[in-house]
Each structure stands twice: as structure tokens, then as C-alpha cells.
Amino acid sequence: MADASVGGMDAAPIGGAHDAELYHPRSWVTKYVFSQDAKVIAIQYSVTALTIGLVALVLSWLMRLQLAFPGCFDFITAESYYQYITMHGMSMVVYVLTALFLGGFGNYLIPLMVGARDMVFPYANMLSYWIYLLAVIVLAATFFVPGGPTGAGWTLYPPQAIMSGTPGRDWGIVLMLVSLMLFIAGFTMGGLNYVVTVLQGRARGMTLMRLPLTVWGILTATVMALLAFPALFVGAVMMLFDRLLGTSFFMPAIVEAGTHLRHGGGSPILWQHLFWFFGHPEVYIVALPAFGIVSDLISTHARKNIFGYRMMVWAIVVIGALSFAVWGHHMYVSGMNPTFGFFFATTTLIIAVPTAIKVYNWVLTLWRGDIHLTVPMLFALGFIVTFVNGGLTGLFLGNVVVDVPLSGTMFVVAHFHMVMGVAPILVVFGGIYHWYPKVTGRMTNDVLGKLHFWVTFLGAYAIFFPMHYLGLMGVPRRYYELGEMAFVPPSAATLNVFITVAALVVGVAQLVFVFNLVWSLFRGTPAGGNPWRATTLEWQTPQTPPAHGNWGGSLPVVYRWAYDYSVPGADQDFLPQNQPPAARTVPA
């Protein structure tokens, strides 16, 4: 069944990058702080992003406390509540998930998986991290400026975002926009690196159709981000001008509390188009790397080739392309011409087909596999459940007329948390447990890992599954307090308490994860070079953790695709990508 057209197993290695001159660090500072080694940059990105993630987690606790026990916490005012939701959302989507998948996993895995010594532009790569860090510092600074951070909601809809009825109108929104612009500038430096490295830095024999799906996911997501983020960038520039210079890009004639503002002629809906032209691809910028990573986790831990590799690659590319034609589904009830609804509903539901094929191929990879229920595998399984659940509720919201009653309700909150919150974060965890042995040379603790998985997976499901039904009932989102609503039965308050308790428990479980990472760094069992017996190149490095330059004396040569698990007739149940087809050339 060794289909040569799939793996190109027997093809002679051709092409590939020439060995490159590396920048060598001369001091501790250039080795560990201002490092140009993608692996160090990856760790810097990941630690920074996970730290913000913990802040965003605490913010989510605060808002859940308010929703379950309104009026019990004096320090949670309406202003601060809206600041929490805004900072939680923006932090998680941009500064945590985008940074983790592309800056973290991308930096660590791309050079190793394609067989390069480093990113092709190491200096720009280093700058990318430091500009990202600056963006994070500016974002964090908004907590300490007069008026605090912006409370405009993560979508920052004008005119409200720059008017005085919204918290953080003075400083918060300005710094938020500046921080986003910095993030985009920093990301562009990293993003160009990832794309060029994948296209130009591959080892001899590493054809595009032999790339692990992790690399395909990250590559496609990066191309998308390079195309989508500029829309947000120009939107941010325009809104800064509106706020600081008095222009009216997004500001029509407005009367605020009886006073005519000095604006006129602008269009708030223009911001929504720009924002969602970025915002919808952003969902897939987070999802596609997760798709790629989870494919590799499932294949490795089920000891079976990923099912339908070529279809998986095409699905990633098609989803990436289609996601630029669906942004209007965030605006069905915005007052844009309603006939757009026919177009955007159709494009949105078409995306379900390649996405469903990916899901089928994941579960068909499990079928007739040799399933090892390791911690990374458990997280991958949790991903499939939550992603399928969240993806299917997307069929409600994408189908324009069904979106009408549900938009703006807790159903939307439940949907996007399940599909682009919980599901990708489970992949982040799975990926960290999977590659931690390569990064540190030590295994994480299995018992703690399983505890972390079960509480996080079941807890997160218990938070977000019932939440859909609040929205179905009509409970609106972004309400500091529900107050009296005739159509909301008292039992909804009980459900809110249940959700909050689950959120607190899931939050505490993340301390188990942090403890596991730190403890295993010193006490973990030594991992060896390839503890999961995986095929991809990062597990075949001469040293673990890989040294600067990754490959020692000579670059690897690739002879096969990334998924030669359980090949009939082979001695062991995996054949590394750089293993020559020697056994097959020896005459019987």
C-alpha cells in the first residue's frame, strides 16, 4: 500500500537548501536574551504568551464571578466588567493564541521540521519577538493609565469605542490601538520569516508534499495573517486619527448627551468591514496551526499515517482561501445591505465541507490504529470533541436567518469559545506535552498531565455546552447584569452559578500545568532524543535539546513523507523521514 504518489517514498532526494552561515552568539546576553536562535525566540514567545494567558484567565474569573453573583463584589463595577471582557478577548485572540501558534510553535518547529538550521532572517526574527514584547507591555500599561484599559469590547466598534460612554476612552483605546499596530509590525517580521523559511529553507528531499501537516497549518495561517492583519492596521490608524486628530473616518454626525460632536460623514460600518476582514481569517489563523499540530499528534500516538494526507493539505489551503470571503457573517444584523446575507451564508456553509473532511480524516486515522492514550493524544481527542461541537454551532450562526435570533446572545459566546478558545488551547496543551521532551530533554509528569487534561476538558465542556442554551433562550451577551427579564426563568441564575464554579475549577487546574512544566524541568525523567518514536525531523536531531544550528555537522536528507508509521515489512513501527530506503534496495 506504499503509494509513491502520496509519500514519494522512493523518489531520490533532490533540490533543497544549501548549508548556511550562522550567526553565532558571543555572550550570555546574545545567547539567551537578544537571541537570534529560533528555538530561544520560540520559548520567549511562548512564555510571554502563556503569562498573558494567565492574566486573561484571571479576568475571565472576575467576569464569571460578576455574572454568577451580581452585586456581591464591590470592585467589579460596570466599567471594570467591560474592561475585563475587552482585555480578556483581545489578549486571548491576538496576544496569546496568535503569538503562541505562530511565534511559539512556528519558531520552534518550522526550522526543525523542514530540516533548516534556523529561520532565514534570524535578526528580523529576533526583532519580531522584541516588538511583540513591546506591544504586550503597551497593552499591559493600559491597566495603569488614568481611566484604565478600554472597555469597548474586543471588536472595538466605533463610535462607542472613542466616546465617553465607554470606559478607557481617554488613554485605554489609544494604547490598545498602538499596541495592535506594534503587534502587527512585529508579527510581519516573524511571518515573512516563517513563509520564506518553509519555501526556501527546506532540506534536500523535503518536498512540499512531504511536509508534516503542522508546517502546512502554520505556513497557511502565516500567509493568511500577512494578508489579513493589514486591514486591522489601517483600521487602527484611522480610528487613532478619529480619536486624536478629530477626523471622521468612522464617525457620522453624532449627538452625545445633547451635545453635537465635531464629527460627520464617516461610516461606523466601514470599521466593521475592516475589522472582520481581519477578524474572520484570524479565526483560521488560530485554527489552521491547531489543525496541523493535532494531525501530527494523532498520527504519532496512534502509530498510523494520517489518513488522506493530500486531502488534508488541500483542505487547509481551501479553508484558508475561503475564509477571506466570509467576513460578512459577523455583520448579518449590522444594517449592511441584507442581500449580502445570501452570499455570505453560502460561502460560510461551504467551508463546513473541507472542515468536516479534516474531522473525518482525524477519526479515520484512529480507526485500525494502535492507539496510545498518552497525554498529548488525550488532548488531541479532547480537541476533536470540542472542535466538532463548536464547528457545528457555527452552522447555526453562519446560516444567516438562524443567526438573526442568536446573534448578540450567549450562544455566540459559547460557540466561539468552544471552537476557537477551548479547542485550539487543548491543542496548545497537547503540543506542549508532546514537544516538551524535545525542548527540555525531559518528560513531563504523566499523572499531573492526565489530571490537567480531564479537569480542563470536562470542565471547559461543562462551561460552554450549557451556555448555548442561555443564548437560545435569548440572554444577551455583554450584559454586566441581567436584571429582571420576563423571559428568563430563575433557573438561568442557577446555571450561571454552575458555569462560574466550573470556570474557577478549570482555572485552578492550569496551576497543575504550570507546576508540571516547572517541576519536570528539574525532575522529569530524561527523555532521550525521540521518546514518542516519531518520524518527523525534529526528533532526529543529534542533540536533545537541539543545539544552535540544529543538525551538527551536516543537514539531514529526506527520503520519505512524514507519516511512515507501521509500514508493512519494516522492523519498527516508524521510519524517520531521513532514513534512506536501504532495506528496499537490498535484493532479497
Binding site: Y82, G151, A257, R368, I384, M485
Partner: protein, 271 residues
């Protein structure tokens, strides 16, 4: 074994929650029962897909869990299977999209006999305007807003003189008659949302948006703002009273027109 069991519990538990939990649509009070129908079709299709995928995973884990000597099958792809699954998915998607688009076609087509009313949003209250005996709403712009002209009617437009203004009070509508809601905001984005009507739409400053519905049930319904509009967002409530035609007429008689309530309206009257 335990992992497979938990997955089965997640799948069946979700279905049971859906069937048994007390949380469901609030009873409908408009003509948009088609929307509820489309949602129920979607629940069936997605529910079957979710349960099938999770149960299949549980089966695989039970059946193909690692044991000594087990070796996975080597099967790079099966075009036939992939195309079949893709085709079945496409059918399922079409089964949701087709009724969805058909209902959307109705949603965007306002019946010719529909009467009009206007809802005006501002931080953080609702106001309304109804056509007077002349039957037309006059033009408006946020620029015209003043203490005497809180909804910004165009003083030069004679069509506005007889318009009935309801500032920060309840709106009444007759039962069983289709209405077109024209939506306008004088400051930020709001959203006109009555859960019992199912339909909702943003009030986008700078333009007039619309949707239509036919109230089918007598009663008082709460209007919520479903578009985040600043710190007072949760307090932005209003009421809409659906009543028999005769009661509605009696109520309408008691309301003041633009000309009656504002010197600006009179000025335009005199012209």
C-alpha cells in the same frame, strides 16, 4: 476503557441535556416561526453529526487501543471514502442552507401592506416615531437634534409635522398586522431586540436600517439592546405593547405629534 466511556457519556449527556434541560426558546410572538423551524432542522442535523463522530471515536479507542503485538494498518488514503464522506456532508449542509436562504428571502422582502414605525436609539434609551394621518415619516438627521427636537426631525419636511413622537416611553402596535421597523441611532451602534419576535437588527449611526415582522400575540414585550453601546448597555430597555386594533387606535389618539409637541414642528407647520 474509561476514556471511551467518558466520550460516550459526553455524547449521550449532551443529547440528554438538550432534551431534558428547561432552557429553550421563549414562546414566539411573531410570524418568524420559520426561523425556529430552521433552527430545529439544524439541531437535528448537527446533533446527529456530533453524536456519530464522538461515538465513532469512542469505538475506535475501545477497539484499537494499544496492546502488545498490535500494529496499526497502513492506509495512506481512500479517495472513494473521502469523496463519499464529503458528498454526504455537502448534502447535510445543503439541507440546512436551502431552508435558511428561503426564509432569509422572506426576511428581506417587506410585504407591501406593512405599516412603518421608527425606533431611535440613544445612550441609553429607546424612542419611537409613528406616521400620522398623512401616513409618511418625515426625513431626519442627527444634525437637527436639539432640546425641542429630540429625535432630529427635519423641520423643513412637511411629512414630519404629523409624525407621532414617543420619547422614552412604551411603543404600542396592533396585533396581526405586518410592520416594518426603521432603525436609527443618534450616537453609537445599538440593536433592537425583542426575544419573542426572534428578529433583530442593529441601529447603525449614519444610516437607517430595517426589518419587518408581524406581531401575533397580545401582550407587553421587553425591548433589549443587543449591540454593546457603553456602560449603560444592560439598562437600555423599552417596552412594546401588542394590542387589538381598537385599543391601539385609542392609544394613538392620545399621543402628541411633532407639531403639537415642538415649536420647530409648528414652525414647519406654519410654512
Amino acid at each position: 476503557m474509561p476514556v471511551a466511556l467518558v466520550l460516550v457519556a459526553v455524547a449521550l449527556g449532551s443529547v440528554l441535556f438538550h432534551v431534558l434541560s428547561p432552557w429553550w426558546f421563549t414562546p414566539i410572538a411573531s410570524n418568524w416561526q420559520y426561523i425556529d423551524g430552521t433552527i430545529i432542522v439544524t439541531f437535528w442535523i448537527t446533533g446527529i453529526a456530533f453524536t456519530a463522530v464522538v461515538l465513532f471515536m469512542a469505538y475506535c479507542i475501545l477497539r484499537f487501543r494499544h496492546q502488545d503485538g498490535r500494529r496499526a494498518a497502513y492506509e495512506p488514503e481512500s479517495k472513494r471514502l473521502e469523496w463519499w464522506l464529503g458528498a454526504i456532508t455537502a448534502v447535510g449542509v445543503a439541507a440546512m442552507l436551502a431552508p435558511g436562504l428561503a426564509v432569509w428571502g422572506q426576511f428581506v422582502t417587506v410585504p407591501s401592506g406593512a405599516s412603518e414605525f421608527e425606533a431611535v436609539g440613544q445612550q441609553w434609551q429607546w424612542s419611537f416615531r409613528l406616521p400620522g394621518p398623512g401616513g409618511r415619516l418625515g426625513t431626519s438627521d442627527a444634525r437637527f437634534i436639539s432640546a425641542e427636537n429630540p429625535l432630529g426631525l427635519n423641520p423643513g419636511d412637511p411629512n414630519g409635522r404629523d409624525n407621532v413622537l414617543i420619547v422614552a416611553d412604551d411603543l404600542h402596535l396592533p396585533v396581526g398586522r405586518p410592520v416594518k421597523a426603521l432603525l436609527r441611532s443618534v450616537d453609537v451602534v445599538h440593536n433592537f431586540y425583542v426575544p419573542e419576535f426572534r428578529a433583530k437588527m442593529d441601529l447603525m449611526p449614519g444610516l437607517v436600517s430595517y426589518f419587518w415582522f408581524t406581531p401575533t400575540r397580545i401582550g407587553t414585550f421587553e425591548i433589549l439592546c443587543a449591540g454593546f453601546c457603553g456602560v449603560g448597555h444592560p439598562q437600555m430597555r423599552g417596552n412594546i405593547v401588542i394590542e387589538p386594533e381598537a385599543d391601539y387606535r385609542a392609544w394613538l389618539q392620545k399621543q402628541q405629534s411633532f407639531a403639537q409637541s415642538s415649536p420647530q414642528g409648528q414652525a414647519s407647520n406654519a410654512r
